[in-house]
């Protein structure tokens, strides 16, 4: 896939998740980061670092992005969330405006 269509999300621990821009833009915050006029570092480099989000959570978030895309296109499935992650996920969701 072309590089421009991908974006790299980096967790607090430094793990990199390379996902579709389309999927990442499920988050309103990431969408703004990548589309805001003027060139912020993120949109130039295609890399976003989240120093406050752990790897496990970010992974779950990426899964959610893809699931959300599928769900929106009509596939009705459940998105499973482990109970112990709930709180941190909610915080991240608030932060990412998802």
């Amino acid at each position: 896939m072309k590089k421009e269509e991908m974006v790299t999300l980096i967790s607090a621990e430094g793990f990199e998740f390379v996902i579709d821009k389309k999927a990442a833009m499920v988050s309103q915050t990431i969408r703004n980061m990548l589309t805001s006029p003027g060139s912020f570092a993120e949109s130039r480099e295609g890399k976003v670092t989240f120093p406050e989000i752990s790897t496990a959570i970010l992974e779950k978030i990426c899964q959610y992005f893809y699931w959300s895309l599928q769900y929106a296109s009509g596939k009705e499935t459940e998105f499973h969330i482990e109970p112990e992650m709930t709180l941190e996920l909610m915080m991240a969701a608030n932060y990412l405006h998802t």
Binding site: M33, F40, A41, V48, T49, M91, Y95
Partner: protein, 733 residues
Amino acid sequence: MSTQKRRNFQIEAFKHRVVVDPKYAEKTWNILEHAIHEIYNHNASGLSFEELYRNAYNMVLHKFGEKLYSGLVTTMTMHLREISKSIEDAQGGSFLEELNRKWADHNKALQMIRDILMYMDRTFIPSTHKTPVHALGLNLWRDNIIHSSNIQTRLLNTLLDLVQEERTGEIIDRWLVRNVIMMLMDLGSAVYQEDFEKHFLNVSANFYSVESQQFIECCDCGDYLKKAERRLNEEMERVSQYLDPSSEAKITNVVEKEMIANHMHRLVHMENSGLVNMLVDDKYEDLGRMYSLFRRVPDGLSLIRDVMTSHIRDTGRQLVTDPEKARNPVDFVQRLLDEKDKHDKIISMAFNNDKTFQNALNSSFEYFINLNPRSPEFISLFVDEKLRKGLKGYSEEDVEVVLDKVMMLFRYLQEKDVFEKYYKQHLAKRLLSGKTVSDDAERSLIVKLKTECGYQFTSKLEGMFTDMKTSQDTMQGFHASQATNLGDGPTLVVQVLTTGSWPTQPSPACNLPAEILGVCEKFRMYYLGTHTGRRLSWQTNMGTADLKATFGKGQKHELNVSTYQMCILMLFNNADRLSYKEIEQATEIPASDLKRSLQSLALIKGKNVLRKEPMSKDIGEDDAFFFNDKFTSKFIKLKINTVNAQKESEPEKQETRQRVEEDRKPQVEAAIVRIMKSRRVLDHNNIVAEVTKQLQSRFLPNPVVIKKRIESLIEREFLERDKVDRKLYRYLA
């Protein structure tokens, strides 16, 4: 019912791990403030969105939203002050450009800032009812830039000057102006209206007031309208090019008022080029322009309509009352039709087929056609002429067109019964002389009359057609039965006419020559033999005859003459010279008819089969007539016209009128009785109104006549006056 209540879960704010540094807020804000500076300085590429967003996010989360917000206001205001200065410093033409550039910058910066501060926009602002970041940015721009004392008037004047320049034909940078106008609109339509539109409209009003004054002094109406139209289109184009669409109605309104409404009357009545001249010269384009422009202003169309109406009425009145023009009825009607066509065309070409204009045209025609009491007669004569020969060679559709036009004139007539009277006479002559061009056309016209005026109106006319048809059958029967014993005597063609259907005036039969009399008698026997209980009387004043005559040098001619003329000519079989008195005695033709017949026999050049002494232009009672031996003609067949189907002479006219009046009486009475039968009691004025309403499809009854009829009905005890209220009438069953 479920009594179970849902418990509201309160999720407490998450306690952040970060130990709250007392200087935390200060530090974080400094980072953000720095970022805002960088953004305004076009230096944002080094910034991390995530970091800024996170900082703003945390500030709001840690209840420093207020600090963040007020900090933003201060920082942005500071930047805008600087911008304002740089715009003020821009010289001359670069002013707008600078403003526009800075506006674009500000917009971009504003969007970046909003994105960074999105979390504040999302949570802090709605809960504290503050202005969202974007709107805040626009407001600050408005207050610091647009409403800054050094910019506000300068901006307005610059814009107005540009518009003025464009109006005087110069080219301006529309793109730039459009951007600035869009900026004003972005700041809110109130800003656009207050800071630009209001003044723009005022200046435009002044401009057009002055310009229209100049134009009207030096241009004729057509040119003026062209200019006004161009200006109007220019303004509309201006709006579509670089103003807000909401201004279109307002600015066109200004142009309409200044250029059209204020000069409307002067334009319409302009000497040598006003509305009347346009109508006369068929200036469809100018008229169309006038229509579309005047339609935009209140009372514009009614002004055109009124002037047009009075113009048509004037010309129409001249047309119908000019005795010169009334001399030839066919031309007279043709002129009316031309006039109607002309205005119909104008209305369809220039006035958008406006219904109100058509109505105005119709009422004008109705008005002036009825000014001339002879219009019904003339229209009938016109039809007569058309059906006799005018329509020869026309296609069926063309005939329909002509007939439809005639019907249209007919509709305007108030005295439709007078028309009927004349029409009947003319139709009778056409049928009897076999001169009608097309039976189909005749019938088509009658059908039209029927749909217009009902069965009653045409029943007699149709009766005439039926008579013609039956007569044909009768004649066939007659000839078949007489085939053996007629020999080579004269052939007789009889048309049996039902009394009442035909407009026959009882006239004394003349003495027919013996040869004819014999055949006539045979026909009488035949006819009365097949139909019992009928009476036949001969209408010698309406017939025609074909004669074979041999002249001096042995040349033979066939003469087509009227019955009267035939009787006269037959006398010359036995004599070469006859005096007027002798002819009168022998034939017993009524004097006026006799004179006319003789006139056409003896005085028309090329057809003078008789010779008269003394040679004079009129027939005198002492004249003598000779068979004209020396008569020559290059035609074998000769048609000798009696002076016929011309306009009625004065006494005839009087007579017809009188008969019409006479015929109206029973109709008025019938109407009165019909009305009273259903109403039982009614006062005088109401009766008059109702009668007029009932009869107006045929004629316009005179109130005096109605009064007389009422009196006559009272005399005959159909009605009585109320004993208490003398104005009331009662119906007596």
